[in-house]
Amino acid sequence: MFTFGMLDGALFHIGPIPVDHIIVTQWVIIALIGLVAFMATRDMQMVPRGLQNAFEALIVWTYDFFTQLMDKEHIAKKYAPLLSTFFLFIIVSNYSGLIPGAGNIPGYQPPTANWNTTLTLALITAITVQIAGFSEHGVHYLGHFISPSPLMLPLNLLEEITHPLSLFLRLFGNIFGEEMILAFMLYLVPFFVPALLMGLSVLLAAIQAVVFTILSASYIATATGEGH
């Protein structure tokens, strides 16, 4: 049976708290990323080799990337770990939907195809942006809500809402849509054609992870930048 978003709801309960299918998948993803990170940094060498080299390159790449994106290096250093975590979590979540069985095996539902996950990530970004703005500019940060004139207050507030909203809906829409199309394509043309589409999905999954991370970084950069 081809499904998309069917495994929505509780797989089991811990006391009164339900544990959804996507939460179990998230645990597996976290364990996987943690394991790779542990293996990569278990025996750090001065001259990196193999897994350590690859993982270091990834982390350093995100660091450099955010440093270039943000003008202030200390801000980039401060928030790069959060952004790298966004990137790793989202990309692995996106790819988890491409493995056969996703959405059919209980406890295996790609997290980013569920908008509760993307909403949470977008909310984390939104809160981080406000915290970053306050910690960088103090009370003056509030000034940017009435800049350039108090008349702009509603629009500025709207902007603060639309940013996370766009993050939330973009990621969810892309991944959920991709899963849905894959399910229908598998039904219509079971051979070969879905493979091409899955190839595209590999690209799409990476692009969406990068887009989410870059936009989060740019929101943080805007909130901490000059002009507030």
Binding site: G5, D20, N114, A183, P190
Partner: protein, 206 residues
């Protein structure tokens, strides 16, 4: 002109379409109680607060795990690497300076050695020169001594010869006088005569 690659692409597309239509026919036939059922699904329920809470918790757990196993060790390693590279560069710079110093020192030493060697050669030359002069002077002196000695000997021999000659002359003169006079000459006469004769003869001979 149709190239080989284009032919391949056309064949591939035909194959895909054939498989596609075949499977479409298969699936639509199967739809009415066949093998492959139509996909089902719905958008997940939004504002599932438990899921949102769990996701937030999971995300921060992942962040903590990555801090422990990725960001901290990698940052430390990067810092360590930066330090190592910096110190290596500094060390290299220091070594360079040291080498330059050593080179200068070696050059100075070489110049000094050369100077010393020249001095030694000069001193040796001077010593040899002095020795030569001394030897020559000594030889000269010895030659002079020998010459003087020889001269003195010659002088002495000449004197001796003169004396002997004088004695012989005296004897001859005595004998001649005795013969001429045929008488004994007094000692006084004798002496005066001889003296006069010898003096005249000596002045003539010498």
């Amino acid at each position: 002109m149709i190239r080989k690659r284009n032919v391949f692409m056309i064949l591939l597309l035909t194959l895909i379409m054939t498989i596609g239509f075949a499977s479409l026919a298969y699936a639509s036939g199967a739809g009415a109680g066949g093998v492959i059922p139509a996909p089902e699904g719905h958008t997940p329920k939004l504002f599932n607060w438990y899921a949102i809470g769990w996701t937030a918790v999971n995300f921060f757990i992942l962040l903590a795990i990555l801090y422990k196993f990725a960001f901290d060790p990698i940052n430390n390693m990067l810092e360590q690497r930066t330090n190592t590279i910096e110190s290596s560069l500094k060390h290299a710079e220091q070594v360079k300076v040291e080498v330059e110093e050593m080179r200068k020192e070696a050059q100075a030493n070489l110049a000094e050695s050369r100077k010393q060697a020249q001095e030694i050669v000069a001193r040796a030359t001077k010593a040899a020169e002095d020795a030569k002069d001394e030897i020559i002077a000594k030889a000269q002196q010895e030659a002079d001594n020998i010459k003087d000695k020889a001269y003195a000997e010659i002088q002495a021999a000449t004197e001796k010869a003169k004396m002997e000659l004088k004695d012989a002359a005296v004897m001859l003169a005595l004998m001649a006088a005795e013969k001429v006079l045929e008488r004994a000459i007094t000692d006084e006469d004798h002496k005066n005569m001889v003296k006069n004769f010898v003096n005249e003869a000596g002045d003539l001979m010498c």
